[in-house]
């Protein structure tokens, strides 16, 4: 783990969006969740408890559990890639689809991932009654929801920014749509996509652990895997087992990084356009090995040939009403109106259904209470991100300005960001239980336990990239102390910091669901907050209240992003850009 990965501006942060479309996307998604679950509940319930193999705390089983967990990750990643290619293409190529798909995507990534689980578990279990497969799908789907959105955004973004001259060349060469897709569009979007895949993967470990052992009402799912092992260890108060699981995960993440991602990143570097090739190219010893060994090359060659052949086919998939025509005919304008009306009607209907569902099942008092809890969690997230920033920004700068140190620290920070922090929760919980500490205060740090590292490694990257001339100018003009931080360094790293903080805050909201309510054997600790509320309602299987909780949390996240992060990001992009 020697090479430092360059930060890519996450697709999440830099897209441009028409805000009014959120009004459409928001109810549509929640409505979908509502219909899916209520419908299934009505027709399929009651479902008998799932029969699964019992989890054994024998450490010898851990390699197998780790393998199954990793396979889930891979399956989810595969699903995410397929989803990305299709959804991103549709959104970018069809104007009308884009109007709907882009805002939906935007909201989807604001919905807390763990919120989905309670619904999807029910849904998938119902799809495959009495089988493990359903639970497997639910877990994979949960990981998928944590990975797919930012990859899709990145792909969509790349498709929209393919340089004009390259488009013209492919037209000039008379490439068909299918050929152009594989020859130009996919390669062009590769670096951004792979960077986002890495980010997704970091988050994914967290959710795979959380989604393997979950109880929704009377249904308990325990899939053989690292997460279930942990849940069992917690239930049995076995601290040694917790230690084993932490060790296993460390090894798994390192292997995953070295054997899958680093080679991918190094390989994808060739897709970079020339003008971004300034820094040192990423290296991977595995990739070097593969490229230098002839045997492996020979084995891989047939696959490569097959793929190339596939890409060379002249398949002409004409997307409905692709955007290559600028002039709108009368028919097209008519269709626009129909399409608009259809969407409006749909949204209206869904809104009405949503309102009537919540008002009939929950009531206004409960809604106010949940919004109140949302504010408590909001304060918790804000305070802890602020606290993490106060600690990590100065440290990150000091590290980043020392290239040797940065090279050492950076992979560690990236590893810590990928490490599922929920594995460490029991250690803290034991401590809190032992000293009988106030959970409202002492559970709070768990929220940023895993995500604070995004701030650190982005700041380190920012400080490392800070131009030497600026540093020399500051020294030459004797700019020191607070003036140095205020006028020189802080503005210089701000874009990087914002990138890290956005990721950290998104992660913190998600983590609140598992960190505001924790247990150690029979000891249950809960802090006041929306996360705890959702967790409790999930355990109780109270769907209207889960839905309400997710609704409110999504709303908070969307508003938080819109009112805080996006304006800050705009400042970073426009005012604080270097060069």
């Amino acid at each position: 783990m020697t090479s430092v990965i360059r930060p890519f501006i996450p697709a999440t942060a830099k897209r441009l969006l028409p805000n009014r479309w959120d009004l459409i996307a928001f109810p549509l998604i929640l409505g979908f969740l509502l219909f899916a679950t209520t419908g299934i509940q009505g027709t399929w319930a009651p479902i008998s408890a799932l029969q699964t193999e019992p989890i054994s705390l024998d450490a010898a089983n851990l390699p197998e559990y780790a393998l199954r967990t990793t396979l889930r990750m891979l399956a989810a990643m595969f699903a995410s890639i397929v989803f990305t290619l299709i959804y991103g293409t549709l959104a970018a190529k069809s104007r009308r689809a884009g109007q709907l798909l882009v805002p939906i995507l935007d909201i989807l990534q604001s919905v807390p991932v763990l919120g989905y689980i309670s619904f999807t578990v029910t849904f998938f279990l119902a799809l495959f009654p009495g089988r493990v497969l359903g639970a497997e799908f639910a877990a994979i789907f949960a990981i998928f929801t944590s990975q797919a959105w930012n990859m899709t955004f990145s792909f969509y973004q790349s498709l929209r920014t393919v340089p004009n001259d390259l488009k013209e060349v492919s037209q000039n060469l008379r490439l068909s749509g299918w050929q152009k897709f594989w020859k130009l569009e996919v390669p062009f979007s590769m670096p951004g996509m792979i960077w986002n895949m890495m980010m997704s993967m970091s988050g994914g470990w967290f959710f795979v652990v959380a989604s393997e052992a979950i109880t929704v009402g009377d249904k308990t799912v325990t899939l053989p895997g690292v997460g279930s092992y942990l849940a069992m260890a917690i239930a049995q108060k076995n601290l040694t087992a917790v230690g084993w699981v932490i060790l296993t995960m460390t090894v798994v993440i390192i292997i995953y990084d070295q054997f899958l991602f680093r080679p991918l990143v190094a390989w994808a570097d060739k897709f970079r356009l020339e003008d971004t090739m300034s820094q040192a190219a990423p290296e991977s010893w595995v990739l070097n090995l593969i490229q230098r060994t002839r045997v492996i090359q020979q084995i891989l060659r047939p696959f490569g040939k097959l793929l190339k052949k596939l890409a060379r086919l002249r398949l002409n998939i004409s997307l409905p009403r692709a955007i290559h025509t600028e002039s709108h005919s009368g028919v097209s304008r008519g269709l626009d109106i129909v399409w608009g009306a259809f969407i409006t009607l749909l949204v209206g209907y869904v809104c009405w259904r949503l309102y009537s569902f919540i008002s009939s099942e929950v009531g206004l008092g409960e809604t106010f209470k949940v919004v109140g809890l949302g504010f408590i969690t909001l304060i918790r997230v804000t305070l802890l991100i602020a606290l993490a920033s106060v600690i990590w920004v100065p440290l990150g700068v000091l590290i980043g300005l020392r290239p040797r140190l940065a090279e050492m620290i950076q992979p560690i920070a990236q590893f810590l960001a990928a490490f599922p922090a929920n594995l460490l929760f029991p250690v803290f919980v034991v401590f809190i239980v032992h000293f009988k500490l106030n959970p409202d205060i002492w559970l709070s740090p768990l929220i940023v336990l895993g995500t604070q590292w995004y701030i650190l490694f982005n700041v380190v990257a920012g400080a490392s990239a800070f131009p030497n001339d600026f540093r020399e100018a500051a020294t030459n003009f004797h700019i020191k102390g607070w003036q140095w931080w205020r006028q020189v360094m802080l503005p210089g790293i701000f874009p990087y910091y914002i990138t890290g903080a956005i990721t950290a805050s998104g992660g913190a909201w998600n983590a609140s669901i598992v960190s505001e309510m924790v247990s150690w054997g029979d000891d249950k600790l809960a802090a006041h907050g929306l996360g705890a509320y959702i967790a409790q309602m999930t355990a109780a299987g109270d769907f209207p209240k889960i839905l309400l909780g997710i609704c409110v949390m999504s709303l908070f996240v969307v508003l938080f992003n819109r009112l805080l992060w996006r304006p800050l990001y705009a400042i970073a992009e426009n005012k604080l850009r270097l060069n």
């Binding site: 490229q291 230098r292 001339d469 600026f470 004797h478 005012k575």
Partner: protein, 438 residues
């Protein structure tokens, strides 16, 4: 007008026997500066003229207190220099303006650091902005300004702190020709009208004409390591006329000096060894220069400054290509002139394929590293060798950066000559699959 009395004026800066080397893994140091002596007096503009690799920017940074000399004496106003001194301001090639501060804030930053009161700060900053011709742009951000305007902000920022010495690191080389000239004359006007608070200016440049146009005294530095090889007084009065024969003569002499220098060290042409550094010069540029030389009006022989300005090649572009061609046996350099050899003339006449063959022949004969790579590949059973093998060999005698550049250079020449192929992803040389491929 300043220079006649130079010797009587007060000494501001003096460097005695300054060396600068960088440590490299316990092996011998990479020597950047070797026994440099330099004195700056009140009232003069001094130029540090040298090619890339002459350590002129390093020297400037030693004077600025940004880096320390390995050995030797550095005195500022009679006192040994420790760290960045007050009264030494710097202007950067890249401008180095903080993009998040307005023009006014950028200019004020240095004053704030000195603890000047806000009111006084504002007054002095506005005065500097006026002086340098930036009024009206106080509230603009650097990104809203053109390159020339940005460098004016750089000057204002430097001047506002009333420095004793103004250091300029290639201040005009990032600007287009016309803008650079305007800035030069504006600065010289202010200097000659004694409107500037500074007592002395040190300017680093690789542009010979610029040095002759602006400076009272020029220190010419050699490359690898940097040594002062000549000190030239420029006796012309300002404003100087670039077309004046005496001016042209001085420019020509410096050209001759800078090409001669290299050979004077060893009396005859420097022989390349396997570990000699190579400078990245594209084969297109080489072909272009040979074609231009072969054609009228040069017909095989040209004056270096003349062909340089005709082809819009600055010293840093022209010298490497000229020297590379000399190493390859396509031209000869003498007294500031460049002359095609018989092979060079043939090359200019040839078509694409014949050129490649001729180039390959010369490459293998005159560049030992190319011949070495080819031989190693031929000896190996698989006819392949990793880049690392040669890189490590080069790193014995070169810095990491130079080793990399040298190898990249020989790769691009070797590819053109088709004497070996190279795969950038696996980082291996080979004699196989010369037709390329993925």
């Amino acid at each position: 007008m300043h220079n006649e009395t130079t010797t009587l004026r007060q000494e501001i800066f003096s460097l005695k026997h300054v060396d600068k080397g960088y440590h490299k893994g316990g092996e011998d140091d990479i020597q950047v500066l070797d026994d440099v002596n330099l004195t700056l007096h009140e009232g003069e503009i001094v130029g540090l003229l040298g090619r890339s690799g002459s350590g002129k920017s390093t020297l400037l940074r030693i004077i600025a207190g940004l880096i320390q000399a390995s050995s030797g004496e550095v005195n500022y106003c009679g006192q040994p220099l420790t760290g960045p001194a007050e009264g030494v301001a710097m202007v950067f090639q890249t401008f180095a303006l903080f993009p998040w501060l307005t023009v006014l804030q950028n200019v004020e930053a240095g004053l704030e650091a000195l603890g000047v009161e806000p009111k006084e700060r504002r007054r002095r900053a506005l005065a500097a902005i006026d002086l340098i011709g930036l009024d009206g742009f106080e509230n603009a951000y650097p990104r809203e300004l053109s390159g020339g305007m940005r460098q004016r902000v750089g000057f204002a920022r430097g001047l506002v702190v009333n420095p004793t010495l103004l250091l300029m690191d290639e201040p005009f080389s990032a600007l287009d020709v016309l803008t650079a000239e305007t800035l030069r004359t504006d600065l010289l006007d202010l200097w000659n009208q004694k409107q500037l608070p500074i007592k002395s200016v040190l300017i680093v440049t690789h542009n010979i004409e610029e040095a002759v146009f602006m400076c009272d005294r020029i220190m010419v530095l050699s490359s690898n390591p940097g040594r002062v090889v000549a000190e030239i007084k420029v006796p012309f009065a300002h404003p100087r006329n670039r077309l004046d024969p005496a001016f042209r003569k001085m420019v020509d002499d410096i050209y001759a000096l800078m090409t001669q220098r290299r050979s004077a060290d060893t009396l005859h042409k420097v022989q390349l060894e396997i570990g000699s550094p190579l400078t990245e010069v594209s084969t297109n540029l080489m072909a272009g220069l040979m074609e231009a030389l072969a054609a009228a009006p040069y017909n095989g022989r040209a004056d270096l400054p003349e062909i340089g300005s005709k082809l819009l090649l600055e010293v840093d572009d022209l010298f490497p290509v000229a020297e590379t061609l000399e190493h390859l046996g396509f031209v000869e350099l003498r007294d500031g002139d460049i002359e095609l050899t018989a092979a060079g003339k043939l090359f200019a006449d040839y078509g694409t394929q014949e050129r490649k063959v001729l180039f390959a022949e010369h490459l293998l004969r005159h560049i030992p590293l190319a011949a070495r790579i080819r031989r190693v590949l031929q000896e190996r059973p698989g006819q392949r060798a990793p880049r690392l093998r040669f890189e490590q060999e080069l790193e014995d005698s070169l810095s990491d950066g130079a080793a990399e550049e040298t190898l990249d250079t020989v790769i691009s020449w070797g590819r053109y000559a088709e004497i070996f192929s190279y795969n950038d992803h696996s980082e291996t040389f080979s004699l196989e699959d010369m037709e390329g491929g993925q």
